[in-house]
Amino acid sequence: MAKNEPKPIDGLTYEEAFAELETIVAALETGDRPLEESMTLFERGQALTKRCAELLDKAELKVQVLVGESLEDFKENP
């Protein structure tokens, strides 16, 4: 995890957000961080939780079709 340059949360995939959240929770659980760092981690953890929940709520199966070497959106027959 790139701790120095945390990625903007809006750009994270579910996997990325969840993995970082897991790391943060583990770090907070050991409880050996200074208070201020812990607060920062906690706030980021909350934002990540929100991001993950949003991604789950909004998730919509993406279906593309491989035509030759390129991908196109797939229109399903109704």
């Binding site: 907070l28 409880g31 906690f42 939780t49 789950l56 199966l61 593309q64």
Partner: protein, 406 residues
Amino acid sequence: MEQLSLFDASPRWTVTDLTRHLRQLLEGDTVLQGVWVQGEISNLSRPSSGHIYFTLKDSSASLRCVMWKTEAVRLRVGLQDGMAIEVHGNLGIYEIAGQYQLYADSLRPLGEGALFQEFLRLKAMLEADGLFDVTRKRLIPNSPRRIGIVTSPTGAALRDMLNTLRRRMPLADVTLAPVPVQGDEAPLAIQAALRNLNRIIVPDVILLARGGGSIEDLWAFNDERVVRAVSESQVPVITGVGHETDFTLADFAADLRAPTPTAAAELASSITVMELRQTLEELARILGGSMGVLFERQHNLLEGFQSGLRFYSPIRRVQTERQRLDELNRRGNTTQAYRLELTAARLKGLENRLTALSPLAVLQRGYAVVTKNKRIVTSKAQVQDGDALRVRLRDGEFDARVSGDG
């Protein structure tokens, strides 16, 4: 009429004995038991008894066949005259009619049998090549996000799989490599689709699927090119071809075989979005809890600091000094009296100590002091019979005389 010798040694049979003998010959011949016989159905008859009678014939011979009701009810195929079939059963003789016939226990359309032979031949060959080795099987990821699907773009199989994935794992990205799933072009197209997904997309898992159909319909999935492409795929492949009872060679080569397309999609989403949500909620709970613990710890720490601060605070010292001052003031007013009191107490103490040391104090408790010629008698040896003594008690003195020295 020809004259027969009276002494003709040829054996004589009854019809029954002869027929029974023939029957034993036929039924004892293992070659004629458990045989497959190919031919065309004619004279098909299905009386109400439930048994099936027909004649199996080809261009130059015919064979009576019977299938008893117990086997007939298990038939999946509809029979009709002219149909080319393969019949399995034992040869025997119907004694009453003097007729040998095939007692059938199962039958199938002729093409199926030939295809099945081909299936077994291919299976043995590919198995020998190690394509079905368990050690070749790749692990299916628990929660694949990028899923490749090789199937017909118009079939029910695709619809079933997409619906299943939509319900269980809508986070997934699906890439469909559309192919015909039956017919002559199918094997090459499927092979190409598997290779393209591996080369261009590299998904986490590939579903190779087709809805149910006859053995001919599913045949592309027994094609050597398809089976080899499945085996060569770097991406794990889950097959879901036909129905539960259908097994194709692609199934054997796959890393995981699902009984149906829907089941294949389920296996590709073994962790569902519901489970992800639960895990997320759990993590959020721990996150909140960890902060609670942290705050409590900080709170305790702060309290410790606070009581430390209070202890060392100058305010506390000021207060202490003020209290002392108060006391000094209060005491200042009574110093004189206090001193006198103290002196008095000390005098009383001294007196008590003196009193305790005084021999008079001993007399207070009932003891006596005995003197002889002004000297204290402390031993029996100091006195003799008739000596005059002086005895002192608590409240006065008197004279006494020793009578007898005990």
